[in-house]
């Protein structure tokens, strides 16, 4: 009797492991949650892209739900997602840019060519703020709530579908 039971356990165990491994196959290996989720926006000290005498820090992100976009002139996907970001700004969402690993001239050129949805752009030429945000390639987009806590993270290009299906609902959720 126990022998039968043991023999029955074998296929059940096999099926269990097979199912567990199978559901892993369908996952996107490059997708993972940001380590900064539900944490405070990192402290920083920087100037803005347009004004090298204006100092900004993490208090920039308190008081209102803000969408933070990390971009650079060298990044092709950043150019492609600009129309979506302009649309988000038109919807009354506060947008702040982080000009990542770029120069002032190139960054300003980019804004005059592709539009500027940002209230202000933090200038981060050496990528140190990006590093503290765990950014490993632009574009990346973070949603920061009114208390300055990171609530949502989007890695890579933001498509019109992403705006409709993920970003707008998240903004509503944290407002």
């Amino acid at each position: 009797m126990t022998r039968r039971l043991l023999l029955l356990l074998l296929p059940i165990g096999f099926l269990g492991i097979a199912l567990f491994l199978y559901q892993g196959l369908g996952r996107d290996p490059s997708h993972r949650d940001s380590a900064l989720m539900a944490r405070d926006f990192p402290a920083f000290d920087a100037t803005t892209l347009r004004d090298e005498n204006r100092q900004v820090d993490q208090t920039l992100f308190t008081g209102e739900v803000t969408l933070v976009n990390v971009w650079g002139e060298w990044c092709p996907a950043c150019k492609q997602e600009m129309p979506q970001l302009l649309e988000l700004a038109d919807n009354g969402i506060r947008m702040v840019g982080i000009n990542y690993r770029d120069t002032r001239e190139k960054g300003l050129e980019f804004l005059s060519e592709f539009g500027d949805p940002f209230e202000v752009n933090v200038f981060d030429p050496d990528g140190s703020l990006g590093f503290d945000l765990g950014v490993y390639g632009a574009p990346e987009t973070f949603l920061v709530d009114a208390e300055g806590v990171i609530r949502y993270h989007h890695k890579g290009y933001v498509s019109p579908e992403h705006v409709r299906e993920r970003i707008l609902p998240e903004v509503e959720k944290w407002r």
Partner: protein, 156 residues
Amino acid sequence: MALMRWMFIALLLTLAGSALAAGIEIREFDDPVMEQRYRDLTASMRCPLCENQAIDDSDAPISGDMRERVYLLLQDGQSDIEIINHMVQRFGDYILYNPRLENRTYLLWGLPIGLVILGVVVVVLMVRARRNASAKALSAEERARLDALINRERSS
């Protein structure tokens, strides 16, 4: 002598060329222990961008930034654990080739050991069952029946 000098210059150029090609910068360490720690740390962290390359042999800009940060934190006198925490806080557990032992990873680390123990238990049980079966003596009645069967087989 002149030949030696030329060979030396050629060798230097080759070395410099290969270092540039790999995109890995040359760092100066006063302390060989610290240099070894730098090597171990950068070999134990996975590049967040390139999925399966350690940051010590990746050309990605982020890997360069991470090597730089490891170097600065070492110079700053931080311990290996502090440096690893510094990186994990920013880039997540993903960058660790060896996941840390915590609630989430008990199954991961424990499963292979658990399976080995289970296997040993199964083997022990099977051996014991077999030994019991062969050692079991026949009763007088069974012996008589066995004899009868053998005799019938012989006489026919």
